[in-house]
């Protein structure tokens, strides 16, 4: 076989395109190079069989490679699924470190599987490697800035690390983002909104939380399973009225629903309607421990509330003195005597603003001489001042001074009623 043949001097050459093989200049009609005057050589292929054979080899090569790659991909998919399953099991069994290894192994065989990568970030967060998870999530976000799942995970991560503004930013991005895996994104969007609202409520950012909750209430279907969660958040945010209306709507659908009854009781208690709260609680079976606890709380609050309807002057003064005493005890729990303990606490930095504590100390000193039945009688402004002191002291000591007693809880509830959830 001779695939290429050296033709004679210029024989059969294409004059327009032929180039001299020595100097690459155009070859003239004479078959000699215009430039170097060398004889121009040209190769022509005159037997196509080798090329056809080569084409056949390429076709066979393609088929064989395809066969091998298909079975290889199959094997890789199998391994990826196996390790992904192992990762999920490890997560279910609360072994995040094992899950990280399993998800990483799955990713070796399914390099760009987005779902696997998201799961890996979950495992990383759970195993405490939040900086790695954050780096991964930020990288995803660069690639998919609209992805709601990524933004939501970033929001949770930032919330966990107390980066409030970043967390709120990512929550908003998640709410506005795209949910690629769901045809109807509304439930996911509502869920993201509720999560954001819960975060805002926890932060005590009442107005922002209210905005988000109102938006959720507007788009949440009446029959949605998320209605109790919405009502709960509204209640926690101090909006007892809206919460109560949701519970009442639920009770209109299921009259003796214990959860709705309990919620309605809480809402009415928060609104200061002790009688209504008691009525709702009566509809719940006595063995319901949550209801029993609320009943006790209701009794306590009612027993401590000097502003409750149809309260005599004597009872009002007694309740005021009791509240003052409970608040002082609560402050003393932060260190006794509390005025000195405030100073030492300020030194250690354990209980926040020292000026606040010294303020309470001065305030208590001023009020203490007035805390007798005689001095309080008929002096509503002193009662008001003493109750303000008691409620503010309970709020200030809420997270810094140890376990709450039932009385403290009752006073806090009163504080929320009178001052709002943001206090």
């Amino acid at each position: 076989m001779c695939a290429m043949e050296r033709a004679g001097t210029g024989v059969g050459m294409n004059e327009e395109t032929a180039l001299c093989t020595i100097c690459r200049q155009p070859v003239g009609a004479s078959g000699r190079c215009e430039h170097c005057d060398e004889e121009a050589h040209i190769w022509t292929i005159q037997d196509w069989r080798p090329l056809l054979t080569l084409s056949l080899i390429i076709v066979l090569g393609f088929s064989f490679t395809r066969l091998v790659v298909s079975s290889f991909n199959e094997m890789q998919r199998g391994l990826a699924a196996k390790y992904y399953g192992e990762g999920n099991s490890a997560m279910d069994e609360s072994h995040p470190a094992r899950a990280v290894t399993a998800y990483e192994s799955a990713l070796v065989y399914s390099h760009n599987n987005f779902q696997y990568r998201l799961k890996l970030t979950d495992a990383l967060i759970a195993s405490g490697a939040s900086s790695e998870a954050r780096a991964q999530l930020r990288d995803f976000r660069e690639q998919h800035p609209e992805d709601a799942q990524v933004n939501l995970k970033l929001a949770r991560l930032e919330a966990h690390d107390r980066n409030v503004e970043e967390a709120l930013h990512y929550y908003q991005q998640a709410i506005d983002g795209v949910w690629p895996d769901h045809s109807d994104p509304l439930p996911q969007k509502i869920d993201a909104r509720l999560e954001a609202a819960e975060y805002l409520v926890t932060l005590g950012r009442k107005d922002e939380a209210e905005g988000v909750l109102v938006a959720v209430a507007a788009e949440l279907p009446a029959a949605s399973a998320e209605q109790p969660r919405l009502a709960e958040l509204l209640l926690r945010n101090g909006d007892a009225e809206r919460a109560l209306s949701i519970y009442q709507m639920q009770l209109s659908q299921r009259k003796n629903d214990p959860a709705a009854l309990l919620g309605a009781a809480r809402a009415t208690l928060a609104a200061g309607s002790y009688a209504s709260a008691r009525r709702y609680l009566e509809g719940i079976k006595p063995e319901n421990s949550e209801a029993a606890r609320l009943r006790t709380e209701l009794d306590r609050v009612e027993a401590l509330d000097p502003f409750a309807r149809s309260t005599t002057e004597k009872i009002r003064t007694e309740r005021t003195m009791a509240a003052f005493r409970i608040a002082l005890e609560r402050l003393a729990a932060c260190g006794a005597p509390f005025a000195q303990s405030m100073t030492s606490a300020a030194k250690t930095g354990a209980t926040g603003d020292p000026a606040q504590w010294s303020g309470f100390a001065k305030w208590a000193e001023q009020l203490a001489p007035m805390m007798t039945e005689r001095k309080l009688r008929g002096r509503d402004e002193v009662i008001e001042n003493a109750m303000r002191f008691a409620l503010r002291a309970e709020i200030a000591a809420q997270s810094n001074c140890g376990k709450l007693t039932l009385n403290d809880e009752a006073l806090l509830l009163l504080a929320r009623q009178r001052m709002g959830a943001g206090q």
């Binding site: 430039h35 005057d37 390429i58 390790y83 780096a135 990288d139 660069e142």
Partner: protein, 598 residues
């Protein structure tokens, strides 16, 4: 059973049963047959062949990558972190098996394959034995799959070159074309292995061909592209690693990158020095120890891998993680150092496998390390770890493999982000300069010299002074003769000088030379034209052409005209063999290196 020829004839008779079919067959036969009307010229055929080579090399490299992955699963298990027993046993035992075949039967598969391909191009007329290619495929897949710290790109280069060589020999190509087949296949191999055609083309030019050659560029580009098409068809167009977004916010950040350039240069020098000393030392050991060396290297790497499994294999998955800030600074530093040691062990013991991937691994880890340290020292400066890892890869590539163009374009091609070009160029330049300052000979040249070969190097090429025609030519004393003037007129000019030969301008840039005797021969009538005495034309030269080119055209001609490029009839001077030799003597070069004609 009828013989095959008879059966073929019967089939043909059946096929050509009708006149219409016969007509079509006849037309086809005339077109394709030995005296066919359809014919393509050599250059065109070579380009078509380059595409075919690219496709075939693409298939081979896809299978090679599958083989590496399958070997990894088969030998080390499918889990990301293999068991300690496997880590200690697999690389060691596989190393012994590989050494047996490599030392005893296929000595040319040892090492990366770049020098072997270069050797095929410059020494063996493009010949790479089929056994070598097959053994390279199998043994490299086993070596990398078993965890030796080597990469698939350089073996893919040799496999591609071997395939191209086999096809060229099968088609009985001329020696000249066969020689060029090796780089064409090499480019296809690297392109498919690295999923980066531009990088592959530049790498082959810088490291295999060793010089810029326009003649082969088209074929190399076509083969690289077609192999990448195949690779992406089968394995997808996902990049080897996910490159994070990068933006240069302030020019001051470049100073921080310069630190990486210095670190990369230093690491490059250390790595090359280790290879430079360890490889010949290991080769000087008794012959029997050659069978053990890859196994021992495997054992040591397996030992390291008990704590740092990242050092095994090519390690692209870890590069990806480093780019995404998954390792703390101390781990990045340790991985860079351990990979350097592991790769040096694997490579110096002659285990088949490439340096491309380990160099990138080291660069990424070093880049990440510098970035995380800078982050802690200068928190005010924006130090994106991913970008540093990427730039670090380029810096190590430029420093160790000394392929500066490839190192820059590789980063651009893999990142697809041109914002990173400034840091890359700065880092690579610093690393390259440091590497050159402390290690004069590039790594691949060093290896070929250790193997007793002296192959051309692109890095050393420009340093040799290039002598041009203008350095040798001398001006003409009088005017050139004209083809259309009468012999009588020309004799007047001839008589006025003592010159033995005279240039004749024939118009339209054509020239010839006539001797004094021919012009003064009384047999010729004075009224005849000088043109009538011309028997052959001579090539013309330009002032900027090299003296090597002038010598090629000189042959036994007494002189050649040097003309102006814009006016081919304007004589700038003449040059003779004596002029050329005088120029070489003057420049201090005894004679041109004929093998280095540019």
């Amino acid at each position: 059973m009828k013989p095959r020829t008879e059966r073929s004839r019967e089939l043909l008779t059946k096929l050509m049963a009708t006149p219409v079919r016969r007509k079509y067959f006849e037309t086809l036969r005339r077109m394709l047959g030995p005296s066919g009307l359809v014919s393509i010229r050599e250059e065109q055929f070579f380009l078509v062949l380059a595409i075919a080579i690219g496709l075939l090399a693409g298939f081979c490299v896809v299978l090679f990558r599958v083989a590496i992955a399958a070997a990894r699963v088969w030998l080390l298990g499918s889990a990301l972190h293999p068991s300690t027993t496997r880590l200690l046993l697999v690389p060691a035992v596989t190393g012994l098996v590989i050494a047996f075949f490599a030392v005893r039967y296929f000595p040319r598969v040892r090492g990366s394959g770049v020098n072997q391909t270069k050797g095929a191009l410059y020494i063996y007329d493009g010949y790479i034995g089929p056994g070598t290619s097959v053994a390279k495929f199998v043994l490299s897949a086993l070596a990398i799959g078993s965890g030796q710290s080597l990469g698939p790109e350089d073996p893919a280069l040799q496999i591609g070159a071997g395939l191209a060589s086999a096809v060229g020999r099968w088609l009985k190509l001329s020696k000249e074309r066969l020689r060029l087949m090796a780089p064409v296949g090499a480019a296809a191999g690297v392109a498919a292995a690295f999923n980066a055609p531009i990088t592959a083309v530049l790498f082959v030019i810088e490291e295999v061909i060793g010089r810029w050659s326009a003649g082969i560029l088209g074929a190399v580009v076509l083969s690289a592209i077609s192999s990448v098409v195949v690779e992406r068809w089968f394995l997808g167009d996902e990049p080897l690693f996910r490159v994070p977004q990068y933006r240069l916010d302030h020019p001051g950040e470049l100073l921080a990158y310069a630190v990486l350039g210095v670190t990369g240069g230093a690491a490059s020098v250390v790595f090359v020095k280790i290879i430079k000393n360890l490889r010949p030392w290991l080769r000087r050991q008794p012959q029997w120890s050659q069978y053990l060396q890859p196994g021992i290297a495997g054992l040591l790497i397996g030992f390291i891998a008990i704590w740092y499994p990242q050092v095994m294999g090519a390690g692209y998955e870890w590069v990806d993680l480093a780019m995404h800030n998954r390792f703390p600074w101390e781990v990045l530093g340790i991985l860079a150092g351990l990979k350097l040691v592991s790769t040096a062990l694997s490579f110096a013991t002659g285990t088949p496998g490439g340096l491309f991937a380990p160099v990138l691994f080291m660069g990424a880890m070093l880049g990440g390390f510098v970035a995380t340290v800078e982050q802690q020292l200068f928190p005010a400066i924006a130090v994106p770890v991913g970008a540093y890892a990427l730039v670090g890869m380029g810096a190590l590539f430029a420093g160790i493999l000394r392929a500066p163009m490839t190192s820059v374009f590789m980063i651009l091609e893999t990142s697809g982000n041109y914002s990173i070009i400034l840091p890359v160029m700065i880092c690579n330049s610093i690393s390259y300069v440091i590497s050159r300052a402390f290690q004069e000979v590039p790594l691949f040249d060093l290896l070929s010299r250790q193997d007793g070969l002296d192959l051309p190097s692109l890095e050393e090429e420009p340093e040799r002074a290039l002598l041009r025609v203008e350095d040798a030519m001398h001006p003409t004393l009088g005017r050139a003769l004209l083809g259309d003037e009468a012999i009588g007129s020309a004799r007047g000019i001839v008589a006025s000088t003592q010159e033995a030969n005279f240039l004749v301008s024939l118009g339209e840039g054509r020239w010839s030379v006539l001797g004094r005797e021919a012009l003064l021969n009384p047999e010729h009538n004075e009224t005849e034209l000088v043109r009538s005495l011309i028997r052959a034309r001579v090539p013309r030269l330009y002032q900027d052409q090299s003296l090597e080119v002038a010598l090629r055209f000189m042959k036994d001609r007494p002189m050649l005209p040097v003309v102006h490029r814009a006016n081919l009839d304007l004589l700038m001077g003449v040059v003779s063999v004596e002029d050329v030799l005088r120029a070489y003597r003057k420049a201090g070069v005894a004679e041109p290196e004929t093998a280095e004609v540019s």
